[in-house]
Symmetry: C2
Subunit: 363 residues, 2 copies
C-alpha cells in the first residue's frame, strides 16, 4: 500500500521538529516497507513570504489529496503586522475548515518521568491521562458575521458570532463517547449554558445523544468556568472532556500546561469517515506553538511532533502496534534521563533536537 503524507513544517521550530519525523518515516520505509510517500508544502508566515497567502491553492489541493497532513507550527513576530486574512494562523484555520476536521483530539498526559516539572504538586498530576475532544470547525472561529465596522465619531464595532447546529454537536459528542468506551468510559461535557444559547443547545444535544446511543458511558456536565477550576484543582477526576472550539482552545491549553509536558503533547484533527472508503481526512500537529525565540538553535523539543506522528499511525493508518512502539520509544528515552532544555532536570543529560530524534529512533 501507498500511504500519502503531506508535510507542512511551517514557521519557527516547526521545520526542525519535522526533520526528526522525517527520519522516522525513512526508517519505517526502509526497515518496515511502510510505503510512505511524502510531499511537502508551505504554511503560515513562510507561505505568506512566498505567495502572499497563508497557504497556496496548490498546497491546499495536496492537503486534500493526502491520506494525512503533518503540520508543524505557524507564526512569529515577523508577521505580526500582516493583514488579518493572510496572517499565519489563517493557513491552519483554512486547513481545518476545508478538510472538515471537526474533531480535535488533545491528550493531556503526564509522562511519569516529568511529573516533577509540572507547576502542580506531583501527586495531582502523576499518571494524569485526559483526552480533550475539541470541536474544531464551528463556533466563534468561523461564524458570520465576523466584522469590524466604523460607526463614525471615532467608534468602531467588532462582531464575532458563535454558531452551532445540532448535527455539529452530535458528531463531536459521538466521537467523545466512542473514544471514552476505549478508555475509562466517562465523558464530561463543558459549556456555559447559564449564559450562552449555544451552551443550552450543546447541553441538550449531548444529553439526548447519550440517552439514545451511549447510555453505557458515564456522562457529566460542567460549566466551562468551573471546568477550568476543576482542571487546576483535581485534574485526575476527568477521562474524556468534550467542548466547543473556543472553550476547547482555552481548556486544552490549561490542561497541557498542567502536565509539565507541554513540549511533548500531540494532537489529531479528524474529519468524518468517508461513506465509501471509511477513510477520514486528518491533520496532526503538536500542541505547542512556533516558539520563534528558540527557532533555528537546534534546541527545540521534537517529541510533540513525533508523538503527533504516532497519532497519525494510529488514526490514519490503523498501524496500532507501530504507534505503540513509537510511544514506548519516547517513554524509554525519557526514562533514560535524556532531555531537551525545556524539560531538563537535575541528574539528566541535556541534548538538542537532532540527538533527541536519534535517541527515539534507536529505541
Amino acid at each position: 500500500t501507498v500511504r500519502k503524507l503531506f508535510l507542512l513544517p511551517g514557521d519557527g521550530i516547526g521545520p526542525e521538529a519535522m526533520n526528526e519525523v522525517r527520519k522516522i518515516i525513512s526508517y519505517m520505509n526502509s526497515a518496515l516497507s511502510a510505503g510512505f510517500e511524502t510531499d511537502e508544502g508551505l504554511v503560515g508566515g513562510c507561505a505568506y513570504d512566498a505567495h502572499g497567502a497563508a497557504i497556496s491553492e496548490a498546497d491546499m489541493g495536496k492537503a486534500m489529496a493526502a491520506d494525512a497532513v503533518l503540520f508543524g507550527a505557524v507564526g512569529g513576530p515577523k508577521w505580526d503586522g500582516v493583514d488579518y486574512d493572510v496572517r499565519p494562523e489563517a493557513g491552519l484555520l483554512r486547513l481545518r475548515k476545508d478538510l472538515e476536521l471537526f474533531a480535535n483530539l488533545r491528550p493531556a498526559i503526564c509522562y511519569p518521568a516529568l511529573a516533577a516539572s509540572s507547576s502542580l504538586k506531583p501527586e495531582l498530576v502523576e499518571g494524569l491521562d485526559i483526552l480533550i475532544i475539541r470541536e474544531l470547525t464551528g463556533g466563534v472561529y468561523f461564524g458570520e458575521p465576523k466584522t469590524i465596522t466604523d460607526l463614525g465619531n471615532g467608534q468602531k464595532r467588532a462582531i464575532d458570532t458563535q454558531v452551532y447546529d445540532t448535527y455539529e454537536i452530535e458528531r463531536i459528542s459521538a466521537v467523545a463517547f466512542e473514544l471514552a468506551r476505549t478508555r475509562r468510559n466517562a465523558v464530561c461535557s463543558m459549556e456555559k449554558r447559564n449564559v450562552m444559547k449555544s451552551g443550552v443547545l450543546w447541553n441538550q444535544v449531548v444529553t439526548a445523544l447519550h440517552k439514545e446511543k451511549f447510555s453505557d458511558v458515564k456522562l457529566e456536565h460542567m460549566l466551562a468556568d468551573a471546568g477550568g477550576m476543576q482542571l487546576v484543582r483535581a485534574p485526575k477526576q476527568f477521562d474524556v472532556i468534550v467542548t466547543d472550539n473556543l472553550f476547547g482552545d482555552m481548556l486544552s491549553d490549561v490542561a497541557a500546561m498542567l502536565t509539565g509536558s507541554l513540549g511533548m503533547l500531540p494532537s489529531a484533527s479528524l474529519g468524518a469517515p468517508d461513506g465509501k472508503t471509511g477513510k477520514r481526512k486528518a491533520l496532526y500537529e503538536p500542541v505547542h506553538g512556533s516558539a520563534p525565540d528558540i527557532a533555528g538553535k537546534g534546541i527545540a523539543n521534537p517529541i510533540a511532533m513525533i508523538a503527533s506522528f504516532a497519532m497519525c499511525l494510529r488514526y490514519s493508518f490503523a498501524m496500532v502496534a507501530e504507534a505503540e512502539a513509537l510511544e514506548k520509544a519516547i517513554a524509554n528515552v525519557l526514562d533514560k534521563g535524556i532531555r531537551t532544555g525545556d524539560i531538563m532536570s537535575e541528574g539528566c543529560s541535556q541534548v538538542g533536537t537532532v540527538e533527541m530524534g536519534d535517541a527515539i529512533l534507536s529505541e
Copy 2:
C-alpha cells in the same frame, strides 16, 4: 452621612455568609457611627420562587437607588429546569447590565497562611497578588442575536454574538491602567486577535489608549489561551490583567483556584462615576458560587463575602482605613490558625460560619 446598602443574599450559602457581614455592619454603626442603612431583597432561585422572576422590579429599583449592593450567590439544582429567561443567573446578569457595572475587579490573592492549600507548588503562589479586570456588561454575555432557531429536520441552530464597541474597551482599559498605577504598574491585556475580530479591535484600542494616556504603565499583550497557560505556569509574572467578559470569566476562575483561597476571594463590579456626584454604582460579591451541597449546614466560609464588604468600604465609601482594618482582621484570624472546613489544614482549629464571623469581628 447616610450610607445606603442593599443586601441580596440570594441562594445556597449566600444567606449564611451575608449574616456575618450584617454583624460587621451593626458593629460599625454602633461603635463607629458609620451610618449604614440596610435594606434587603431577593435574587436568584428564591426570587423565582417568590415572584416567578430572578429579581423583582421593586428590588431592581432598590438596587438602583442604593449606594452599594452586597450580593451573596445564586442558583442550585432546584432551579435547573426553569426557563432560560428566569433562571437564577438572570438576576445577576440584569443587575450587572441595568446598573451598568462594566468593571469587574477580581483580586487573586494568595493568603500566606493558605499557600500550602493551593494545588500549585507553594513557591509559585506564595505572595501572589494579581488583579483581574474583567469587562462585565458587553461581549457574548449580552450581544444580540442570542437565539435558538428550529431549522426543521430535527436540526436547531444556536447563536450567540460577541459585540464590542471602542468606548467599551476604552473605559475598561482605563480602569486597568489607573489601578495598575496604584500597584506594580503593569497591565497584561488578553484576547484572541488571531481568531476574533473583537480581539483585533480590543488590541488596537488598548494599544492606542496606552500610547495616548498611560504610556508610563508597562503594557503587554497575550493571547487568551497562552494567558491561561501562563497563569498556571508562573502566575506571579502578572500584576493587572484586563480582558473581556467571557475570557475574564474563565481566566479569573482559574486564577482564583490557583491561590488555594477560592472561598476567600471577593469581587467588586463598578459603574462609571456619575458626572455630577462622582459616585459609582457598585455591586460586591464573592467569587465562589452558591455551593448548594453545603448550604444550611453552618460550615460555609464567610470570608469571601466579608472581604467583598471590605472592597465596598474602599470603593463605594472611600473608607480606606476601615477596609484595611477589616482585611487585616481576616489575615490575623488566618494567622491564628482559625479555619473553616474548606481551608482546614493540620494543626489548625476548625470552626463554622458563625464562629469565623465572630473571630473576624473581634479582631
